[in-house]
Symmetry: C2
Subunit: 283 residues, 2 copies
C-alpha cells in the first residue's frame, strides 16, 4: 500500500507515543519528534507504509536508548489474553462451526495493535466479531485451500494476539509453522511473545529473521524466504502483512480488522470491518 | 499557552485539512505538507500555539493560492446558525435567567471551530450546554463586572459562532464593540462574517487589524490596541483568545468550550467542558 499524506500526522503521533511508552523524558521526546520531522521531510514518496513505520520506530529505539520500548506492554497484552484463553476455547468447542468461530477469534485478536489503539477491550471485541458480517469474505476459498494444504505458514502480528492465533491453530488440526519477528518492532510478536502465549504447544515457531513491520521478504532470512517460497498456504495476520504481501499470490489469506481509516479506504471497507481476503495473483 | 509536543501531529493534520478545504490538488497538498514539516522542524520551542497556527495557515494560503480557503465553509456555518436564530431567541426569552442562557448559547456556538471539528451538530450542542455544569465557573464575577462596566469589548472567534454571540450581545442591553479579524485566518470571523450574522444591528463592529489567530496585541492596529487598553470589560471567545490573552488581567472573561485535549489538560478540565474564566492578574 502506498503512503497517503494523512499518514504523516499519524507517524508523528506514533513516534511520540512510542517514545513515552519507552519512558523517554521530555528532552528525548522532543529529539524523537525533531528526527521524525526530518525523516518525514526527506522520505521518498514511493516508500511503503511499513518502511516508514520501521524508520520511525528505529528513531525512537535509538533516541530513547531502549531496544524494546513495548516489552512491558507486550507482556501485559499476553497476560490479559491468556486470562481469556479458557473462555475462547469453550466458545470454539461449543460452536456449530468451530473453524468459523476460531477464525473470528483470531481476527478479534488483531484489535491488539498499539500503533492504533493504546487501549482496547478484547473480550468485547471477541463478542462483536462473533456476529459481525465480513466486509471482505473469502472464507469459502480459505476453507477449500485448507483441505488441499499439507501445512500452513502462519505469519504472526502482535503480542497478545498470539493467544488468539493459538486458538485458531489448535482448531486447524494440521502442521503449522508460526512465523514471528526476528527482533522487536512496535508490539509485534517475537519468539519470546509466542512462547509466553503457549504457541509452541500447537505450532513450530520460526523467525522471519527481520525486525521490519509486516513481512518485507528482502529483509527476511534466507531460511525464512525458503519456507515462504515452499508454503502451500499462508495465513497472514494484520494490516502490515497485508500492506507488504497483498499482491503476492492466491495462496495467502489475510485475516485482519481494518483499524485505520486510510487502510480501510484503500481496501474499500469501513473502519472496524472484519476482513478475510485472499491475496491477488502476482502481477 | 506553550506548545506541547502533541500539537505537532495536529498542526500537520490541520495543514492538510485546510489545503483540502481550499481545494488544493494532490501536488499542492504534498507541497503544503513538506513546507509544514520544514516549518515545524525549525520552529523555536518558545513560540505560542496561535503563532504556529498562523504560520501553518499562511503556508496553506500561499501554496494553494487561495487567500481565504474557509470562505465557503464560513458562509455555510453562518447560514446554518442563522436558521437557528429564532429558536435561540425564544430559548433566551423564555428562560428564568436570560443572561445565563445567553452565555450558554454563546459558548455553545464555540463548537463551530473548523480547526478541530469539520463536522458539528450545533442545535444538539446548544441542548447540551443548557444543562451542563461549568468546569470553570466565574459567572458570578462576570455578572458583577457587567453591572459595573459602561461598555463591553467582545472579541469574536469563529464565523457562525457570530450568530450565537449576537444572541448574547442582544441580552446584555449595553454598548458593545464586536472585534473581528482584520483578514482571513482559518474560519475566524471577519467583518464580512459579522455582517452576514447581523451583528451590526446589535453592536459596533471593529477590526483588530490583525489576521493572526487569537488576539496577539503587538500584531493588532494602533486603533484596536487603544480600544483594548480603554475597555473596562472584555469578553474573549474561544481557545485562541484564551491562549493569547489569559494572563492579561481580571477585566477579561474567557467564554469557550475545551475542544482539544491539550488545552483541556492545560486548563485542568475534561474535553467538552464549558469554561467561563476570569483572566489572571498581569504577572
Amino acid at each position: 500500500m502506498k503512503i497517503y499524506l494523512d499518514c504523516y500526522p499519524c507517524f508523528l503521533r506514533q513516534a511520540l507515543e512510542a517514545a513515552r511508552i519507552g519512558k523517554a523524558d521530555e528532552q528525548q521526546q522532543r529529539l524523537v519528534l525533531d528526527r521524525a520531522l526530518e525523516t518525514l521531510r526527506l522520505i521518498e514518496p514511493w516508500r511503503t507504509l511499513p518502511e516508514i513505520t520501521d524508520r520511525i520506530h528505529r528513531i525512537v529505539r535509538r533516541t530513547v536508548g531502549n531496544s524494546d520500548p513495548y516489552r512491558a506492554a507486550k507482556e501485559t497484552s499476553t497476560c490479559h489474553a491468556l486470562a481469556l484463553y479458557p473462555r475462547l476455547k469453550t466458545l470454539v468447542a461449543e460452536a456449530c462451526d468451530p473453524l468459523d468461530t476460531a477464525v473470528r477469534v483470531s481476527i478479534a485478536g488483531n484489535i491488539i495493535d498499539l500503533a492504533f489503539n493504546l487501549k482496547y477491550a478484547l473480550w468485547e471485541t471477541v463478542g462483536r466479531t462473533l456476529s459481525q458480517p465480513f466486509a471482505v469474505d473469502d472464507r469459502q476459498a480459505f476453507r477449500e485451500a485448507l483441505t488441499r494444504a499439507k501445512r500452513v505458514l502462519y505469519l504472526a502480528d502482535n503480542a497478545g494476539e498470539t493467544v488468539l492465533d493459538r486458538v485458531l491453530i489448535e482448531t486447524l488440526h494440521m502442521p503449522v509453522m508460526y512465523a514471528v519477528k526476528g527482533g522487536p518492532i512496535l508490539n509485534d510478536a517475537t519468539l519470546e511473545d509466542a512462547l509466553a502465549a503457549g504457541v509452541d504447544g500447537a505450532a513450530e515457531i520460526v523467525s522471519t529473521g527481520s525486525d521490519a513491520p509486516g513481512t518485507v521478504l528482502r529483509s527476511c532470512s534466507q531460511e525464512f524466504r525458503q519456507l515462504y517460497k515452499e508454503a502451500d498456504l499462508v495465513i497472514a495476520k494484520g494490516q502490515a502483512n497485508y500492506e507488504t504481501l497483498s499482491a503476492n499470490g492466491v495462496r495467502t489469506f489475510f485475516l485482519l480488522q481494518a483499524k485505520c481509516s486510510i487502510l480501510a479506504r484503500d481496501a474499500g471497507v469501513p473502519v472496524g470491518s472484519l476482513v478475510l481476503k485472499q491475496g491477488q495473483r502476482r502481477a
